[in-house]
Symmetry: D2
Subunit: 138 residues, 4 copies
């Protein structure tokens, strides 16, 4: 299955005084990437929360290779790396859309949590979500 | 009653490529200002939410006079301008702590909302909050 | 001339614990709105900065009418209200795209500054920008 | 050498609709932690930039263990893990100040860059910075 592709354009407020995108903002781009991937597979995250389940980020890592600049269009490539009983791993590559330069590689592990339990404890992923997100052969 | 004073230090991620604090971040400084003012008067906002009431920003305005720079310490002066039955107006002045230069003046109007109603409708301020925040003579 | 229209989708990180978009984030939507308006008129802001001129926000105000929710698509309508010698006023209306509900009205005044002067002093708008942004009859 | 300790208080705008701090904001807390550590060792980052050197985040990773809530005071413990010729590794532990619960562990690698070179290329750390940040025995 090919990576999911999503485009975002860098906002002014996302840059810092070094003249490039502040590193924390890539996590927002990655969030947009996985949200759109999920929606494209019929597994809307907003919908998932309405049914009482949330996905909480448990691990996140990024490797920055080149800076993104203001007003540049970025290509966020997102892939489900692994689905386990109670968690999902996404991997990301963020490229400058104009020339395909790799800017950032990232990875997040999301744990399923029960939004109806008072302490929001971890729980098994709903079967439908697992089925829709499971990595498949292209 | 003298203005409440709170100090914040500018984070790197709050600057933009113009080399100054991005304008939207002043709203976060103003939020810190009124939160600390409320806490100092025994009207903790976190506590207020736990009792089922919220304060939603209904209007906000800012006038920028000089830029704030990375790592500068800012002095956020906050004052309750007016308390009505269902809303509170705060006014702010943000200064560079080192020399007292005025950087930004702001104003926000917050409406009390009932967090327990499904549509979070406006409601009267709890009497205790009104009493604690009412502007008084110094 | 009709308002410029731009669509943005609410990110998860833009919500707060009240379950709605945190008010400061509307300034980012408004920034996207005027950036796209300028680009659509051949007056790219990124390009303007490369020629040594910047637009600094001098005033901003917002009136919140209804909350925006996570994952909602918003319609940002932007209009140039007034162009003076050294400043531009933009007005905004942000609506829920699905049903046209008005969520937020805003206004910003931007001052032209000379990025090549050491203290970034105010300066006249380049004539080309003034011409491209001047409000015109539809 | 004991870890450097810095306290931050969670802002409302840093929470998301899950009612906890949005994960990307921990990177801002970590930035504050290393900035204050550097300042406490006489190696102010703002000062470093004024001399023409920057530190760009090249890698970042976080492991989230428990959520931080609005208005909580957090303790950011920062330690220099390793100084090499052209980069510095910081490690972080973020705890709830009230009870010492570990909320987040993080790590960042920062590369020294030459802000005066047009393409901001990597360069050796100034000797003074290396000396001041080198991990030492307590």
């Amino acid at each position: 299955m090919p990576d999911h592709e999503h485009r975002v354009r860098v906002r002014y407020g996302e840059t810092d005084q070094m003249g490039v995108v502040y590193h924390a903002n890539y996590l927002a781009y990655m969030e947009e990437g996985r949200t759109r991937l999920m929606a494209s597979r019929g597994a809307s995250y907003a919908e998932l929360e309405r049914t009482g389940f949330g996905l909480a980020v448990r691990r996140a890592s990024m490797r920055f290779r080149a800076p993104a600049l203001y007003d540049e269009e970025l290509l966020v490539k997102t892939r489900v790396d692994r689905v386990r009983g109670a968690s999902i791993n996404f991997v990301y590559a963020i490229l400058r859309a104009a020339d395909g330069t790799l800017l950032c590689e990232g990875e997040t592990e999301l744990a399923c949590i029960d939004l109806k339990s008072p302490d929001r404890r971890p729980c098994m992923l709903p079967e439908s979500i697992r089925r829709e997100l499971e990595p498949r052969e292209g």
